[in-house]
Symmetry: C2
Subunit: 415 residues, 2 copies
Amino acid sequence: MTQLKGACIFGQSGGPTSVINASAAGVFQEALKQDCITAVYGAAHGIKGVLNEQLYDISKEDPYELELLKTTPSSALGSVRYKLKDLDEDDTDFKKILEVFKKYNVRYFFYNGGNDSMDTCYKISKYMQKVGYECRVMGVPKTIDNDLWGTDHCPGYGSAAKYIATSIMEIYHDAKVYDRGMVTILEIMGRNAGWLTAASVLAAYKGYGPDLIYLPEVPFDIDKFIEEVTKIYKKNNNCIVAVSEGIKDKDGKYISEYGSDLAKSKDAFGHAQLGGLAATLANFVKQKTGAKVRGIEFSLLQRCAAHLGSLTDVNEAYMAGQAAVQNAVQGITDKMVAFERAEGPEYKCNIKLIDLAEVANKEKKVPLEWITNDGTWISEKFIDYAMPLIQGESRPPMVEGLPRFAKLKKVLVSK
Amino acid sequence: MTQLKGACIFGQSGGPTSVINASAAGVFQEALKQDCITAVYGAAHGIKGVLNEQLYDISKEDPYELELLKTTPSSALGSVRYKLKDLDEDDTDFKKILEVFKKYNVRYFFYNGGNDSMDTCYKISKYMQKVGYECRVMGVPKTIDNDLWGTDHCPGYGSAAKYIATSIMEIYHDAKVYDRGMVTILEIMGRNAGWLTAASVLAAYKGYGPDLIYLPEVPFDIDKFIEEVTKIYKKNNNCIVAVSEGIKDKDGKYISEYGSDLAKSKDAFGHAQLGGLAATLANFVKQKTGAKVRGIEFSLLQRCAAHLGSLTDVNEAYMAGQAAVQNAVQGITDKMVAFERAEGPEYKCNIKLIDLAEVANKEKKVPLEWITNDGTWISEKFIDYAMPLIQGESRPPMVEGLPRFAKLKKVLVSK
């Protein structure tokens, strides 16, 4: 093991989750303890904060506020969606990053995010190796979408799944309260992978779930959908449907675009901006069945509801941040911290490390064999998989009846 | 005091809340203790359950499940929106109700609901007096809208307000996470009264609230709105707006109808079915400012989120049910249970009784002097009013990481 002395930078990237700051707490508290880490910096808005030299000095923060990060949603340092160009195409950003790393003697770089962020991480690592600048680069996983390759599950998913399942159980009670008919369409996040929408089956497992579940893994047929909804509605005078925002027809067209005349803008990674699916399907069902229909979009709530966090998820998110620092200090680089489920009847989550090269830009989808009943239901294998991830209750301390979130001073390091 | 021996019926009516079942628990547990109450019935779907003789025998329920009603959202007996005709117009329903009351020797009738339900309650009471059938009729208040006349506040409001304030605090963190600009439009329930939307100021009081708040009490001017949003957006590169679903322009037209070509259906009480306001305003702001805009509708979640209940609200809802029974047994009739705030620095809520005739069909709106800054903000007086109502944490017992709600057997009384 080489003792490498220098500063560390931690950055948060991509869509926030309700536990991403728990990973930040893990990185910060661990890094502040390590002798070889001479300074702990938080990058404002991820890699942009490195490029712009906007670095917060974390040693200036109150330890109690760092502790509160465990139950503070969203990205406390600010997030970013910024794609680094390929190195052979344009090395401007890389040169700037190297300059900043040299200036502040940054020898540890921790980056917290999903697929796209692991790509950023991987490119930086490769560049530093190429130019011979010794720096340990570690990815910390994060995404409510649970679609990172090579890890059993992702920090952020358990809490989002718990929020979705609980909210559906509550909505179920409300949606069935009248004796007149009603169809409820629940729109859940997930562009290409249906992990979050699959979590709706946990509500059904408790007796208060949807009747139909549609994931983006299976092509969506609107006529078949109407048929299935009508059948259940006629039988029960009620029908609750959970759909992934990203469902597409067999030609790859997003269903959310069916009824919409609005031009769809694209984000920095070229992903189409989705939304409005619940309303589109609700109008469609209303026209076809004449039923009273309500479309409900969980929207941002599903990824920021720290008041209903999974304690398992919070603890694991913290552990992932901590493990990134511990391993880097031990000489490891170029890896993403990942989770591995221990064998045996009791759930236990162990840390493993996987090559950034393997993770970058890959997606892990819900296995097709877990999607049953002709694409409208989720198998028990998923329930066994997901139940351990939503266990335990995490919420911020409540002061005067409302959550007390972390307040960081965010003292910028002078340039 | 006359000792009146006989059965009681309890019914739930109107839109559910996350604490309406706490009032049911109060009525049931108290009624089961009273010697003069010979049977305790729950009406399936409110007054419809009386008309159809669909009555559940509450003595058959497990006491533990009745206790769980305190943390089970929505209306456990089923709700209804059914308006009794005026007596001189058509007395068919009243005759049927009298027949059922006589058949089961019903001498106590408790009805839980909002404005429209108090009208139902009042009409039944008047009819029973007219035909000389001795029956004590008591209204138990309920509405997330907080618009019942004659009471300091309504059971259901505190929990909805707590949910709204907490969710906005969380969304605030998410909506400000990127360094690019963003406008967020939050649509909150409230057809004519802005109490729920006003609760968004509680999030601002904690430092994580909206920039602009629009209540239905003030006519909405879309041009002024765009001006105000643009001003804040230009200054902060971000703007969060809370709007009541029921905002109308100076001619009384709902803003939610501005952008929509969909025919609006009306419910049984002749209220227009609202919804889609957030999307309408979001599209409008996008067109006018070019900003990235997200519309978020709290939808049913705000009225069924028992996982984030106000303990004060739950306890008061229970107390209201209990007080209705205790007073009826003492000889009181024709009243709605209401809340009165005790004088003094400490919050204390006392029971008072008001004539049903005074309450029926009236609405209590947010005082205009509490709406400040030219109709875009809420004064501190509201904060003083609302803060005590959201205090304390109530949530259902969690089993396997998910809420355990009451499971009633719902044993129908044989006709």
